[in-house]
């Protein structure tokens, strides 16, 4: 048998090593898994943000400004927000009254009464200047509502314009043990696929109101809150998420809402947002102002 010359042997060995490395990077099974995943590529925005941008809310918002008394939703003491802002935020399902148990319903009604009776001056304008939404609000954010999903076999990432990133591990892992967990703004998320539906399980969100501003009314969740989201593409331009929130410390029964997202067609890239880069809105004498250049 004719033996290989040293250069030929080097070439063969090099090729074998190369193929081996490539196989390790992308084994056929992973390639198959990748190919089977839904293609959610692109930029998406929450339904409310899309409605605002498209002008679909013009009529309702115009009515709110023309007739402030027509806005019955209670979010903050009167005068803190424009009527159209109240009307707009009142459309967020996550700001509606959750199915509280008797104890928390009483507390909630007290908060509503407080918001209806407190003077606008009770709210420090500095308190309503905020940065990021946290979970679950970012899933219905009407502002900074754009995000880009990145779906891989091991993990789905939801990358939000404000820099928040949800890591949803789909590699089969469980949540860390209780003693290894601590509450965070986004909680701990794992997931799995049921056909084209991503089922996300989230725990360990920091306890507290979804809109943590004194004298504002928003659902208040405990650290026991447990979130299940079932996300799927309902058509090439729409994602839908059925969110169920269980909170045995606060709720009488699970809270179910359906959130929708539209594909963004007028952005060719994600444009980052940031609330500190050039904040020219200091609070002076109890009022938000514009600082001179």
């Amino acid at each position: 048998m004719k033996s290989l010359t040293p250069p030929a042997l080097t070439l063969v060995l090099g090729l074998a090593l190369c193929l081996s490395a490539q196989a390790q990077q992308n084994p056929p099974e992973r390639v198959r898994q990748f190919a089977a995943l839904p293609k959610w590529t692109g930029i998406w925005e929450t339904e409310l943000a899309a409605q605002l941008n498209s002008g679909e809310l013009d009529k309702a918002l115009g009515r709110a400004m023309k007739d402030p008394d027509s806005v019955t939703y209670v979010l903050a003491p009167k005068g803190v927000l424009l009527p159209l802002e109240v009307e707009f935020f009142g459309r967020m399902q996550l700001l509606h009254q959750p199915p509280y148990n008797a104890q928390w319903l009483k507390q909630y009604e007290g908060e509503v009464h407080d918001a209806q009776t407190a003077p606008a001056t009770a709210v420090n304008p500095g308190d309503i200047k905020g940065c990021v939404w946290g979970f679950p609000m970012l899933m219905e954010s009407p502002t900074d509502g754009t995000f880009q999903p990145l779906v891989t076999p091991e993990e789905t990432l939801l990358l939000f314009a404000d820099g928040e990133v949800r890591h949803i591990y789909t590699d089969g892992r469980a949540h860390p043990k209780k003693e290894d967990l601590w509450p965070t703004d986004l909680g701990d998320s794992i997931g799995h696929w049921e056909a084209d539906t991503l089922v996300i399980d989230t725990i360990e969100r920091k306890a507290g109101p979804l809109m943590p501003i004194p004298h504002f009314v928003s659902p208040d969740l405990s650290e026991q809150a447990h979130f299940i989201e079932r996300v799927r593409m309902v058509n090439p331009n729409a994602l839908e998420s059925e969110m169920t929130i269980e909170d045995p410390a606060r709720f009488a029964h699970p809270w179910k809402i359906t959130l929708r997202y539209r594909r963004v067609t007028d952005l060719d890239r994600m444009i980052p947002t940031n609330c500190t880069e050039n904040d020219r809105n200091p609070v002076v004498g109890g009022q938000v102002t514009i600082a001179p250049r």
């Binding site: 943000a49 605002l52 941008n53 002008g55 809310l57 013009d58 009529k59 918002l61 115009g62 400004m65 903050a76 005068g79 803190v80 927000l81 424009l82 159209l84 802002e85 707009f88 935020f89 304008p125 309503i128 200047k129 905020g130 940065c131 990021v132 939404w133 609000m137 009407p142 502002t143 900074d144 754009t146 314009a161 404000d162 809109m211 943590p212 501003i213 504002f216 007028d266 952005l267 444009i271 980052p272 947002t273 940031n274 609330c275 500190t276 880069e277 050039n278 904040d279 020219r280 809105n281 009022q287 938000v288 102002t289 514009i290 600082a291 001179p292 250049r293």
Partner: protein
């Protein structure tokens, strides 16, 4: 006040960043009043959480600089604005809702650019659906 003008203000209010009207509530602006600033661009700040248009207006021989607050880059980019859309020295006519406190600031509503044409206006909304027969 037209719904589109309200939307311009609300979009500016809401699409900056963070909880409650994004960066801050727009209750600080007087939406009942509109003011058109005929002046010269001193600076166009393409920044978060708000872009700002600094416009110098000359009245009776005196210069006064106005700070016109716009929405975040992520919002106005979608309407067609870019960091180079306006340059220092450009002559513009910018319509604003002024600050309630009387300072020389306000929130952006619309603008006529150096060529006298509207800058990145909202597309014409579709006609309303016909009434039910």
């Amino acid at each position: 006040m037209s719904a589109r003008r309200i939307r311009a203000g609300l979009a500016a209010a809401l699409l900056a960043c963070g909880p409650v009207s994004a960066h801050h509530s727009y209750a600080m602006f007087d939406f009942r009043q509109s003011l058109t600033l005929n002046g010269v661009v001193r600076e166009f700040q393409w920044t978060n959480p708000h872009c700002f248009l600094q416009v110098v207006v000359t009245e009776q021989g005196a210069n006064k600089e106005w700070s016109v607050e716009m929405s975040a880059p992520a919002d106005i980019y979608r309407k067609g604005w870019r960091p180079g859309s306006l340059k220092p020295g450009d002559r513009v006519a910018v319509t604003i809702h002024p600050d309630r406190d009387g300072s020389s600031g306000g929130t952006y509503v619309s603008a006529l650019g150096p060529d006298g044409k509207p800058m990145f206006p909202d597309p014409t909304p579709p006609p309303p659906p016909p009434p039910p027969s």
